[in-house]
């Protein structure tokens, strides 16, 4: 029936009736043939180009993305095709329209293909998000009250003036301080992330959030809840902009206007964004070459400057309470008050002033390259409020462009009692990036995916229920609704909102408290950080203590599997009834927060007292007096001493590092040799490349074998493979030495243990999935199949401990192969950093984010120069200073550590190994491919897949006429990679005896350690060593993280194909089998395109 009345996809976009407009694009496309889909694409492409309406364009772009990502690939034969490099370059440069033109031309010329569809999907997706982001930016700029800041281009035109009250000094010359105290916000429901700007602007009727402003204290650490966010402003008698972040321990005197716009130079980016977004240094003066002193003279007066200080009372980052947005709002508010942009200097703000602060916080976040939801500055408003989207009306800058306004409306909601008595608020300690989730939500909304759209409607009903419960003061009802929200709409829309850590905590709380535990409440974008647990009031006190213990235990169990930034904490909280609030401090009370003095006094001690300004001297005297009289400052002397004479933390780290290096057999002589080569420029990132004279061509069709066929030969292969499996001739090798640098952005998590997806009813780690596949094969052939898991110093203990807790069953014989090689990371050479950033193609970012990245890169180059290029990287926990030396060593390690010797002794019939990477979750002991490998008689058979645009990093090529795998970093020219149709999966079938022959040994020699060492050294000399840059995280403070690129060395397994005496074959396998999961952002598509279901049917969880 639906096919008879099916509207065109363009018709869905332009429909005026909600039923048609909200039809699911997936449901319609499911029934269409390739030709029909391509016709729809043509119509959508033409439509989006002519439509003047933002959301029509964006929706068409997302429809096109969905067709090319989810619907065409399944219908197209999975044949390999080349992608035009020019299109890829445009994509990197964010010139999406040009990229789309090139890819469409390729489709017209060579017909539709999986490869071109992948490129078009990526281009349409990026263009859609870019269009939305541009519109948000335009709307922020065009808000009345913000426009002038972009027009003002010269200090002489500055029309803000410091309020006279702040210029009036006392008899000692001390200027008063204006202090802004701001609560944070917790959201009871965001109705399916409806606070995403794009959603609010297209679907204002569905964009609703209920949030509450709260004061916070860390339970057991702080005396009582107070507004956690504080911003201080005062005039100073120096013509500088002095910025200080107490929590990040950073302070700077800025004298150059350009530095105000240099966000990533130091930890003061948020303060700089506030100074700009408040109009004190308007965005219009960026790049004007004007003098900051001239601007300050205009703003404050001759010889005077401004000091701005922020403090969040050590509330950890990632609390899901929008601490940073509310800090930005507090800083903007204090700057606006100081320059008469608010009616009153102190007290509350008016409603229109709050709205302007919220708008400018959005602007500030954009300037700083970050972004939150429109509810995030909710702390500016008092107590509980319903925040809802507003349809754009005539006169609004959004009118005619989007259905809704950028800024929502806030309506106070009466807060009945009891919530405070029942809720335990915690920070679970996990470090997470909510960004990909927000993109997924936007995409699913625009596509109106059936289940997600129904969930969105339900989320709205849940919100109504929560509002009613809040007004009634019924905590049990709130708990029931927030729990329903978490397990219903939230996880239907985004399954990744939960994780094993959260589930573990909830289960244990439920177990311990029974029905006294009333419900779970997810705060913000995802769980694991800020979370709420609702109890019966009499259980709250015990629950606070219990949760502390439960979270710490769960963290200890999972901290190697999931990224944690800090120890979990339980909060005390109180509802804040006044919103952001300012007060003026005069005379002896005109003091900054205590941490400010810990930070600044050590510097002042070195200065001649007479050279300090009069006001500074008077302030220090007042502070000294306060230290003697105010109990809260009683510990200042100790703090100051700690600051002046810090404990040498790095000494302990270095001792620990030396011990580990010595235990793991670190080769210091080799390390020094490599350092010398690196420092003298004989090796480096640029030298990874093959000589420019190397000829790189795509392989011929005859160079690869296909595994898609269902012919007789395939059936014979399958039988041959099955027979070998039944005979116990095959073992699996899973490479699990790595810590998934991309998976958790360098957080140092054991990737093998990361419970990445809910499969078979619960969260499963990569390792569990691989063992489940082997178990299934083992059960099928009634054999206990050896499954070797290779480990490194970074992963061994954790994997061993985890395996000790699970029983793999009789069909899997799990063995660990501990790594025997280790490297020490080095501070990178600036030449390698520059080469990587400037010479190699990389994804350009959105304009403002790119500025921030450029600034960060300048800071990193400064760090490398200052620390010493090529010196040992030791300024981190030991595990982050070491690195595995590449997966080439994994098989030689089997020879060295005796695992293979023992296995062969126990199973002399063992003849083949199947090696695969930890993230190739679809790889299993496929009998047909094994049979093929056996029949070919090759030493190594590598599995390759047809390339998609996201498959970067080398491929299968004819190098000077010989087929082999080439790593991306060895490509003489980056465009060479785009000549290649096939991408390496790394999955390899290995003939054990032929491999031993390559190493120059026989089975009988395997027990001879010296002989093995010599054999491996000889073999290693035949494969190249690559210099690579890896991102590592350094954690500090309260959940803060810095990412540093560091240098390490690797030998890679694919280079075995370059060795003439090793006979290598290549087989093409389906993507579902060869796909590697490198980035968490891939997961949603992997789940939706059927890959997860494919993997699940390969597994036996029993």
């Amino acid at each position: 029936m639906s096919s008879i009345v099916r509207p065109s996809l363009v018709g869905i976009i332009t429909a005026t009736d909600a039923v048609t407009r909200n039809r699911s694009v997936d449901a319609i496309c499911r029934d269409l043939a390739v030709g029909e889909l391509l016709e729809e694409c043509d119509a959508l492409e033409a439509f989006r180009r002519q439509s003047g309406n933002l959301y029509e364009r964006v929706r068409a772009l997302f429809f096109l993305y969905a067709i090319h990502r989810f619907h065409l690939p399944g219908r197209l034969e999975e044949s390999a095709a080349k992608l035009p490099y020019e299109g890829y370059q445009y994509l990197l440069e964010r010139r999406f329209e040009e990229a789309i033109e090139i890819f469409l031309e390729a489709q017209r010329s060579h017909g539709p293909s999986d490869a071109v569809s992948s490129a078009l999907a990526a281009s349409y997706h990026s263009l859609g998000l870019q269009t939305l982001a541009n519109q948000v930016r335009r709307s922020v700029r065009s808000l009345r009250g913000n426009q002038w800041m972009f027009r003002m281009g010269h200090p002489a035109d500055h029309s803000l003036r410091m309020r006279p009250e702040l210029l009036a000094t006392n008899k000692d010359g001390v200027f008063p301080i204006l202090r802004e105290l701001t609560p944070v916000r917790m959201d009871l429901s965001h109705a399916g992330w409806s606070d995403i700007f794009f959603l609010g602007m297209d679907y204002p009727e569905g964009a609703r959030v209920l949030n509450v402003s709260i004061d916070l204290a860390v339970h057991g650490r702080d005396a009582a809840p107070k507004p956690p966010v504080e911003a201080y402003l005062r005039v100073i008698d120096e013509p500088v902009l002095r910025l200080t972040s107490v929590d990040l321990g950073a302070t700077a005197d800025i004298t150059d206007l350009a530095e105000v716009f240099d966000f990533a130079r130091d930890y003061l980016g948020l303060l700089k964004a506030a100074v700009i977004a408040s109009g004190m240094v308007p965005p219009g003066v960026e790049g004007s070459g004007a003098s900051l002193a001239a601007l300050l003279e205009r703003l404050v007066g001759p010889g005077l400057g401004i000091e701005l200080v922020s403090s969040v009372n050590s509330i950890p980052k990632g609390s899901r309470l929008a601490v940073s947005t509310n800090l930005l709002a507090a800083l903007i508010a204090v700057c606006m008050r100081a320059t008469s942009q608010a009616a009153t200097l102190t007290g509350q703000l008016t409603e229109s002033e709050r709205r302007l602060v919220a708008a400018r916080a959005i602007l500030g976040e954009w300037l700083g390259g970050s972004g939150g939801g429109w509810q995030d500055s909710g702390g500016v408003w008092p107590a509980a409020k319903l925040i809802r989207g507003v349809p754009a009306m005539e006169g609004d800058p959004e009118h005619g462009i989007s259905r809704g306004r950028l800024l929502p409306m806030h309506h106070a909601v009466p807060l009945g009692g009891s919530l405070q008595e029942s809720l335990v608020l915690v920070h679970g300690g996990m470090a997470q990036n909510v960004g990909p989730i927000l993109e997924m939500v936007t995409e699913k909304y625009l596509l109106r995916s059936e289940a997600e759209w129904a969930a969105r409607q339900e989320a709205g009903e849940v919100l109504d229920e929560i509002i009613a419960a809040v007004e009634a003061g019924d905590a049990n009802r709130i708990a029931a609704a927030t729990t329903r929200n978490f397990y219903g709409p939230i996880q239907t829309i985004i399954p990744w909102a939960t994780n094993q850590y959260t589930e573990t905590i909830i289960a244990r709380v439920r177990e311990q408290f029974g029905d006294r535990f009333r419900g779970f409440w997810m705060l913000g974008g995802m769980s694991g950080g800020g979370m709420g647990f609702i109890f019966s009031p009499e259980a709250k006190s015990a629950a606070m203590e219990a949760l502390n213990a439960i979270m710490r235990d769960a963290k200890r169990e999972l901290e190697h599997a999931l990224p944690f930034a800090m120890e979990p904490v339980v909060y005390d909280f109180a509802v804040n009834d006044r919103g952001t609030w300012a007060e003026a401090l005069h005379g002896h009370d005109a003091l900054m927060p205590a941490g400010y003095y810990t930070l600044t006094i050590p510097k002042l001690l070195g200065a001649d007292r007479q050279r300090l300004s009069r006001s500074r001297r008077a302030e220090l005297d007042a502070f000294a007096a306060a230290c003697r009289s105010k109990p809260e400052l009683s510990g200042m002397v100790d703090s100051l001493f700690d600051r002046l004479f810090p404990k040498p933390a790095t000494e302990a780290t270095n001792r620990n590092l030396k011990t580990i290096l010595s235990d793991l057999g670190f080769d210091a002589v080799q390390h020094e040799l490599i350092r010398t080569e690196l420092q003298h420029g004989r090796i480096g990132v640029s030298q990874n490349r093959l000589p420019s004279s190397t000829r790189i061509d795509d392989v011929d069709d005859g160079d690869v074998a296909m595994t898609f066929s269902h012919d007789t030969a395939a059936s014979v292969d399958r039988e041959r493979g099955l027979d070998a499996l039944r005979q116990g001739h095959v073992a699996v090798v899973t490479l699990a030495a790595g810590v998934g640098s991309r998976w958790t952005q360098g957080a140092g998590v054991v990737k093998a243990l990361n419970p990445f997806c809910r499969l078979g009813g619960r969260h499963r780690s990569f390792l569990e999935v691989h063992l489940a596949k082997t178990r299934r094969t083992g059960r099928h052939v009634n054999q206990s199949i050896p499954h070797i898991v290779t480990t490194s110093h970074l992963t061994h203990d954790q994997i061993e401990e985890t395996l000790g807790r699970i029983s793999p069953g009789r069909f899997v014989d799990v063995r660990l192969s501990p790594g025997r090689s280790i490297g020490l990371r080095l501070v990178p050479m600036t030449r390698d950093l520059r080469f990587t950033w400037e010479e190699m193609a990389h994804q350009a970012l959105d304009e403002q984010k790119q500025k921030v990245r450029d600034s960060l890169r300048a800071a990193i180059i400064g760090w490398a120069e200052h620390t010493g290029e090529g010196s040992d990287y030791t300024d981190n926990v030991a595990q982050q200073c070491l690195h595995p030396v590449g997966h080439w060593y994994e098989i030689p390690n089997l020879l060295l550590n005796g695992v293979l010797a023992q296995l062969l002794a126990e199973r002399p019939g063992l003849r083949w190994l199947f090696l695969h990477n930890i993230d190739t979750v679809g790889a299993d002991l496929n009998a047909a491919i094994l049979g093929r490998h056996m029949a070919d008689g090759a030493c190594l058979t590598f599995e390759v897949i047809a390339r998609r645009i996201e498959d970067r990093g080398g491929g299968l090529a004819r190098v000077n006429g010989r087929p082999r795998l080439v790593e991306g970093l060895a490509m003489p020219r980056e465009e060479d990679e785009f000549k290649l149709r096939y991408y390496n999966t790394l999955s390899t079938w290995i003939d054990i005896d032929q491999l031993l022959t390559f190493f120059g040994v026989a089975r009988a020699d395997l027990g001879d350690g010296d002989r093995m060492t010599e054999a491996i050294r000889t073999a290693a000399a035949k494969v190249p060593t690559y210099v690579t840059l890896k991102d590592v995280k350094k954690r500090w403070g309260h959940g803060q993280e810095d990412v540093f690129p560091v240098t390490q060395f690797e030998k890679l397994w694919g280079d075995m194909t370059a060795i003439p005496e090793v006979r290598s074959q290549f087989v093409v396998v389906p993507r579902v089998r060869g796909q590697q999961l490198k980035d968490v952002a891939q997961l949603d598509g992997w789940l939706r395109d059927g890959s997860a279901a494919y993997v699940e049917q390969l597994c036996d969880w029993a």
């Binding site: 426009q147 003002m152 002489a156 500055h158 029309s159 109009g279 606006m336 320059t339 942009q341 302007l356």
Partner: protein, 280 residues
């Protein structure tokens, strides 16, 4: 509406000597600044003029005003209680009639045959309501002026119905409250320094004074709520003597608007030609 009286405030100026400065007017005759303002009022039809001054300045202002003592009244503001209070001092002088009001430290040069104040009075007579002269002013000058927001009246060039009046607004507030359709971006209607006001303003000043407010702007904001109040873009320019080089610029403007324009231009060119070239 008949406007017979004019009130000039000169009591609260930072430099109360400014109106006493001697300049050469458009006709080439030396006059004090206050005299030029008084003549502007008289030319607009004012029969009686009052100048509100600080105590002790009565005599010098009477001398400097250069008009017949019969039509001039000097009013003393005994304490500096703000601009609104200075205007309120003239209540008795004005009586129950509309009046013309000037600030004492501004001079006006018309670009039309009729003088600036004359243009304003003509509008007030035609519209039968309070009218303030305004000028579209760039936002960087907002810290110096009161500004108004409102709607342009159809079929009337340069005439606006005022709904908001703010004193020295920030550009943030101006953009939210004072955007007037038809003006260039970043431009606002700022006071020109000349108003025709109904006596209602005295009631409003009195009420606001009881609440502690001493400025004229809040009373004008209230006036816009109470009765029809218009803004008129005068064809002319205003010059603030109190700004840096204000006196010099005002003198040049007067000179260039008069018969001696060529001579003044020649002198300026000569001056420029003799300037040594500055390096760097």
């Amino acid at each position: 509406m008949h406007v017979r009286r004019a009130v000039i405030t000169a009591a609260g100026l930072d430099d109360h000597q400014l109106p006493l400065q001697r300049l050469i007017d458009c006709d080439g005759r030396p006059k004090t600044a206050i005299q030029i303002v008084v003549e502007e009022a008289v030319a607009a039809g004012a029969e009686d003029v009052a100048i509100v001054v600080r105590p002790g300045a009565e005599h010098v202002f009477r001398e400097a005003a250069g008009t017949s003592p019969s039509r001039l009244k000097i009013i003393s503001q005994d304490h500096p209680r703000g601009y609104g209070d200075a205007v309120a001092r003239a209540r008795e002088f004005v009586g129950d009639e509309p009046f013309l009001h000037f600030v004492g430290d501004h001079l006006y040069v018309s670009d039309a045959p009729r003088r600036c104040a004359e243009q304003l009075v003509a509008v007030a007579k035609a519209e039968e309501c309070s009218v303030s002269a305004v000028q579209a002013t760039r936002e960087n000058l907002l810290p110096y002026f009161g500004a108004v927001g409102g709607k342009r009246l159809s079929n009337c060039t340069g005439l606006y119905e005022i709904d908001t009046v703010l004193e020295k607004p920030t550009p943030t507030l101006a953009e939210q409250e004072l955007v007037v359709p038809g003006l260039r971006a970043g431009h606002y209607l700022c006071f020109f320094g000349v108003h025709v006001l109904t006596p209602t303003v005295f009631d409003l000043l009195e009420r606001l004074r009881e609440g502690g407010a001493r400025q004229l702007t809040p009373a004008l904001a209230e006036l816009a709520v109470r009765e029809r109040y218009l803004a008129f873009e005068v064809t002319g320019r205003r010059y603030n003597l109190g700004q840096t080089y204000g006196l010099l610029v005002s003198q040049l403007a007067l000179g260039l608007a008069g018969d001696n324009r060529s001579e003044i231009l020649a002198q300026i060119v000569d001056l420029l030609a003799k300037q040594p070239v500055r390096q760097g």
